[in-house]
């Protein structure tokens, strides 16, 4: 098991290196540079800036220097916020995004799976229709519709909860609901499909023929086999949601990471683009490794210790 994990980490590092290289090349092929938008700069000042940041060097030298820095865990200084390093920006905004994201994913998993299970157990009855109606609404109504509606009606009109900002538990509710909605709907639909598939398996009939109660069958036999597809998507989904989403964070004025993803591209903030990409990729690779380990725990057929069948 330990050997497997170590090997996966080594592969993860290689993957990360490939991602770093590709992003670096792609980014430098974008038109413009970090200082192209500042019209007030004289050509001389621009040249000095380019030199300071090493942007006048040939690209492979820049690449070499960057990779060296990255492997010493230094993501460099932002071009857009010259007084702050990328490490600082991530450290300052990620905890907020992660907190919001973790709330949202927790709600999505609990409510989504419950809805999916209830729907499957009441296949083609009113509970099923209710759950699937909720799921379809959740998938098709985007966060930028749900968010402002919640913020306006619950936050402003009813005044029960604060409509925006991120200062304490009562501020967490509306953004969490908004962010969890789509994921919740996806989970519910997936779990329902998967449950229906498992319910029709022969081994469920075997369980029934042993005289087990409906509840025992659902909890001991059905759910555990039905949850595999959920585990598959859970890793990437979690990473996606905890690294911040532009829309929800903008609507509720949450000081998260989401906006930096967009801003860094539009301002050609090289170090920021690279830093966020590396951070995101590293989390994703970690999530996939965890997913693989979880597979083995849930499904004995995918036990990894024995040569990784």
């Amino acid at each position: 098991m330990l050997r497997f994990i170590l090997r996966r980490f080594a592969y993860g590092l290689i993957t990360l290196w490939v991602i770093v290289s590709l992003t670096f090349i792609l980014m430098h092929n974008l038109p413009g540079d970090p200082f192209a938008n500042s019209e007030k700069l004289t050509p001389e000042a621009r040249a000095i800036l380019m030199k300071t940041y090493g942007l006048d060097q040939p690209i492979w030298i820049q690449y070499g220097a960057y990779v060296k820095k990255v492997f010493s865990l230094d993501l460099g200084v932002s071009f857009y916020y010259p007084t702050r390093s990328v490490n600082e920006i991530i450290a300052g905004t990620f905890p907020t995004s992660a907190q919001l994201g973790l709330f949202a994913i927790t709600i999505a998993v609990i409510v989504g799976l419950t809805l999916g299970i209830i729907a499957a157990l009441n296949h083609n009855k009113s509970w099923d229709y209710f759950a699937m109606f909720t799921a379809i609404v959740g998938v098709s109504v985007p966060a930028f519709v749900i968010g402002p509606l919640l913020s306006y009606y619950v936050g402003v009109k009813l005044g029960i909860l604060p409509p925006a900002l991120w200062k304490g538990p009562e501020y967490w509710v509306l953004p969490t609901i908004t962010l969890s909605f789509t994921t919740l709907a996806t989970m519910a639909r997936m779990m329902r499909t998967s449950m229906l598939d498992v319910i029709n398996q022969d081994y469920i009939k075997t369980a029934k023929s042993k005289g087990l109660s409906q509840i025992t069958i659902v909890f001991k036999h059905t759910i555990r086999n039905a949850i595999m597809p959920i585990i598959t998507i859970l890793g990437p989904l979690t990473v996606n949601i905890i690294t911040g989403t532009l829309v929800v964070e903008q609507i509720f004025a949450v000081p998260g990471m989401g906006k930096h993803f967009v801003q860094s591209i539009s301002t050609n903030d090289y170090t920021m683009i690279m830093g966020l990409t590396i951070f995101y990729s590293a989390l994703l690779i970690l999530a996939i490794i965890i997913t693989d380990i979880l597979y083995g725990i849930v499904d004995p057929r995918i036990r990894l210790s024995k040569g990784g069948k």
Partner: protein
């Protein structure tokens, strides 16, 4: 009371978008204590549905056991009338079931030990440890080598034959009075088939359980059963002892089944003899004999009305107009033991 099971006029339908499928249309048979009964017939004749109705494993809806049906178990309880809760205490403890495909009928994410002990803990109130010991004993009984180690393994670590042995251990764990085996050897290769049948016969002798074995393999019937029920299109067309069915079959469908078995003792290369045609549509079963359309001896009356069940001798009956006193005499195309005539 000598009968462990009395099935009377069992009717099962499935309600689908296309209409009502009458899968079982009035099946009556008895099973004596300690007896092995085979239900034979081609795919879709209702034999699996019958067996699942006995264990009340038919999902309702879409399935429905029609009123008027009765399944008297152990002389007292009518299975059809039990509540779901009452049925749970019968399933697994009084009757056990083995399914067709051992590759899919065990839960892949549970150790086989846990799958055997589940029922024991529920029905017999055994402690975990006691149930485990009983499970090991069961595995040894079904011929599993090294049961102490294998009890902690998962189904994917077993071969098909070994998995079927585990299934048998599960079904017999609580010493049921009735064991239903739904095509237990169909998914296995031939040498393993023989082992499983031997094992079942052996266990029947040891435990005294009654067995219903569903099959379309007449070899299996000859090996294990004492009595045979032949089903066609949701009805019993003939039933009797193994000797009656093999040596004195009365129904043209039974003749067809016997003729379709390839023979080892024939030197000449002989083509297989199929029963021509397909079974009727059970959305709208014919008003006459369901087999008439495929029967080489069909008469006018066969298309008009369904034949009553006629007793041929004690315990041997068939539903065919040929048994009517006014019917023309037809020479049976199968000899004793299934030799072809001519």
């Amino acid at each position: 009371m000598n009968n462990i099971l009395e099935v009377k006029d069992l009717k099962v339908s499935f309600h689908t978008y296309a209409g009502e499928i009458q899968a079982v249309r009035g099946v009556t048979f008895n099973l004596k204590k300690g007896e092995a009964l085979a239900i034979v017939g081609e795919s879709g004749c209702g034999k699996s549905v019958t067996s699942q109705a006995i264990m009340r494993l038919i999902a309702t809806p879409p399935g429905e056991i029609k009123s008027g049906s009765s399944i008297l178990f152990d002389g007292k309880t009518d299975i059809v009338k039990l509540t779901d809760k009452e049925m749970e205490s019968v399933r697994g403890s009084e009757m056990g079931m083995i399914f067709q495909d051992p590759m899919t009928s065990l839960n892949p994410t549970m150790k086989v030990g846990a799958q055997i002990t589940e029922g024991l803990i529920k029905h017999q109130g055994l402690s975990k440890q006691a149930a485990r010991e009983r499970a090991i004993e069961m595995l040894r009984l079904v011929g599993m080598p090294n049961p102490e180690a294998r009890i902690d393994q998962y189904p994917h670590q077993f071969s098909g034959g070994m998995r079927q042995r585990v299934m048998i251990a599960i079904a017999l764990a609580c010493n049921p009075k009735l064991l239903i085996a739904d095509e237990p050897t169909t998914a296995l290769d031939v040498t393993i088939q023989a082992q499983i049948i031997d094992l079942m016969r052996d266990l029947q002798e040891k435990t005294g359980a009654s067995i219903i074995i569903i099959t379309h393999d007449l070899g299996v019937v000859a090996d294990i059963a004492q009595r045979v029920v032949v089903m066609y299109a949701g009805k019993v067309v003939e039933q009797g002892s193994v000797d009656d069915i093999f040596y004195n079959p009365q129904h043209p469908y039974t003749w067809g089944l016997l003729r379709s078995v390839p023979r080892l003792d024939n030197d000449e290369k002989e083509p297989l003899v199929p029963i021509e045609g397909t079974p009727p549509d059970l959305f709208a079963p014919p008003k006459g004999c369901a087999f008439a359309a495929r029967c080489p001896y069909a008469m006018e009356i066969c298309l008009e009305s369904d034949p009553e069940i006629e007793n041929v001798s004690a315990g041997h009956s068939a539903a065919c107009w040929l048994l009517h006193p006014n019917a023309p005499k037809v020479e049976r195309p199968v000899e004793v033991g299934g030799h072809h005539n001519g």
